[in-house]
């Protein structure tokens, strides 16, 4: 996969910038320009909103059979995190042994390398999570 298509989303990936609907106050991540609840009433009212990065493990798994870009990391922990704003994010949990993960565990986001383009290509960065 080539990197430029990911770079477009760097502000969100690096700093957890999502959107908040000024109509219903709902928070969304990644950014979207139409609120699924308010639809046309939300047009022009979806404003940038930075998540705190704090949340709890909602579900998780240990990946043993990854996509080729992730082979060197395996086995790794994938999780769905419920952020304190209520929105859920999918990301890896690092700096933690697999046996110690549980649903409800407190985590925070951390800036990490996500992968690279091809075998010796350009690095892409983004969020992962670690225990608090």
């Amino acid at each position: 996969m080539s990197n430029p298509r990911y770079w477009r989303e760097n502000p969100s990936r690096y700093n957890l910038i999502g959107r908040r609907c000024e109509n219903c106050k709902g928070v969304f991540f990644p950014p979207r320009e139409i609120c699924p609840k308010c639809r046309r009433k939300s047009l022009g009212k979806m404003k940038a909103y930075k998540l705190t990065g704090k949340g709890k493990v909602y579900s998780f798994t240990i990946v043993h059979d990854p996509m080729p870009d992730f082979t060197l990391m395996k086995p790794y922990i994938m999780a769905m995190i419920e952020m304190e704003e209520g929105v859920r994010l999918t990301g890896q949990i690092v700096d933690c042994e697999a046996e110690k993960i549980s649903i409800g565990m407190d985590v925070e986001s951390t800036f990490r390398k996500l992968g690279q383009e091809g075998g010796s290509g350009i690095i892409r960065y983004g969020y992962k999570f670690r225990p608090v």
Binding site: S59, T61, I62, P66, G115
Partner: protein
């Protein structure tokens, strides 16, 4: 809208078909459906092809023209189009064919599903499957399709006390059924122990919880019900066709233990058919991962939420159980050539309702249902069928 019937069905064996290209298998399934329907090729007015990923798998797009051409129909210049909705491509193609006949636009159409997956290495498959989810926000972080279903499984275990044995009973049952299907990829029973001890793919799901990589094709011929008897002694009426969508990414769903596209599509289908889930005798559901069958049989209304696992372990979904689920072997044992799967489900239901299920025949089956799903439930397509 006119009533629509299936007047012919055909399929290839599913599996690793090294010696056959997508042209061969598409043609083979189509030809056997045409012959089953007792029609001549030139009576086909339009072609709908379900295919998920030929561009990534064999660097070939434009499958409408390809299949039409290699089915010997090029000189007839009929319209042909490829339909894509990830794993639900076949079911969605069936729906498009159904709409064309129901609307009166066409009389006789062919719906075929085909996928050739073994021309790429196994390592490339997770990326291609993940294209049915959200590559930009799930895939980039290392999520595989298996990992997303694993997180659904863990949540189902957490919320409802579903056990690992409950989940493992799905592939055990489906392999038992597949052993009675001469076209299945795996025609061999397995034990609970085999599933539980299989190498991990995404904890808690192991190799035997995941549908295999398969080549295969399936086809059905549709016609208006009022002329169906002219061609087929046993036409099967499609009494409802419904499709629904949901968020592309799993992370945006309200619940991980419920698939709303299944709930909405099946609710609409039952309403059109004028029946409820209790009337269904035989169902083909989308067990791309074992947990998906458990969630599906709950959201289709066969069992209460949280009871799908115990129901499967207790044998309620075995052949001639409360409802016979995945008599073909399902995606797990029959095989899962992605775009072909939805059409293969219709083929199996038609066989069951015609009483041609051989060793796996469900007694006195009158109503059948198929559920074909894309990704983690971004798309669900439900059809209900009735014996005449």
């Amino acid at each position: 809208m006119r009533d629509v019937a299936i007047i012919g069905v055909g399929d290839t064996k599913f599996g690793e078909l090294w010696e056959h290209s997508i042209r061969d298998i598409g043609m083979q399934a189509g030809l056997s459906a045409v012959s089953d329907a007792n029609i001549a090729g030139e009576q086909i007015e339009a072609l709908y092809i379900g295919n998920m990923a030929a561009g990534s798998l064999i660097e070939q797009e434009h499958l409408g023209a390809l299949v039409s051409d290699y089915s010997g129909l090029s000189a007839l210049h009929i319209p042909a189009v490829r339909i894509e909705a990830a794993g639900a491509s076949g079911g969605m193609a069936l729906r498009e064919g159904y709409i064309a006949v129901a609307s009166g636009m066409h009389d006789i159409v062919m719906v075929a599903g085909a996928e050739k997956m073994t021309d790429v290495t196994d390592e490339e498959i997770p990326t291609i499957q993940m294209a049915g989810g959200d590559q930009q926000w799930e895939g980039i972080s290392g999520s595989t399709m298996a990992s997303l279903f694993a997180m659904m499984a863990r949540r189902h275990m957490h919320e409802y006390g579903t056990t690992r044995e409950n989940i493992a009973s799905v592939p055990v049952k489906n392999h038992k059924n597949g052993a009675m299907n001469p076209n299945a990829q795996y025609q061999k029973g397995i034990t609970m122990d085999t599933v539980l001890k299989s190498p991990m793919v995404a904890d808690p799901l192991g190799v035997f919880d995941c549908a295999p990589i398969s080549d295969g094709a399936a086809a059905v011929i549709l016609a208006p019900l009022d002329i169906a008897k002219k061609y087929s002694e046993q036409p099967i009426k499609i009494v409802a066709s419904a499709a629904a969508t949901d968020t592309l990414a799993l992370q945006h769903r309200e619940s991980l233990t419920r698939i709303d596209s299944i709930k909405v599509a099946s609710r609409n289908a039952y309403k059109t058919a004028g029946i409820g889930p209790k009337e269904i005798d035989v169902a083909e559901v989308h067990d791309s991962y074992s947990i998906a069958e458990i969630i599906s049989i709950e959201d289709l209304g066969f069992f209460e939420k949280g009871k799908g696992g115990p129901a499967t372990l207790e044998g309620m979904t075995e052949i001639n159980g409360v409802v016979s689920v995945n008599t073909s072997g399902g995606l797990k044992a029959r095989g899962d050539p992605m775009g072909a799967t939805g059409v293969a489900q219709a083929v199996e239901i038609a066989r069951q309702l015609r009483g041609k299920g051989e060793k796996r025949q469900v007694n006195n089956a009158e109503y059948g249902l198929s559920l074909n799903m894309g990704g983690t439930g971004g798309t669900s397509v439900v059809h209900i069928y009735r014996r005449l």
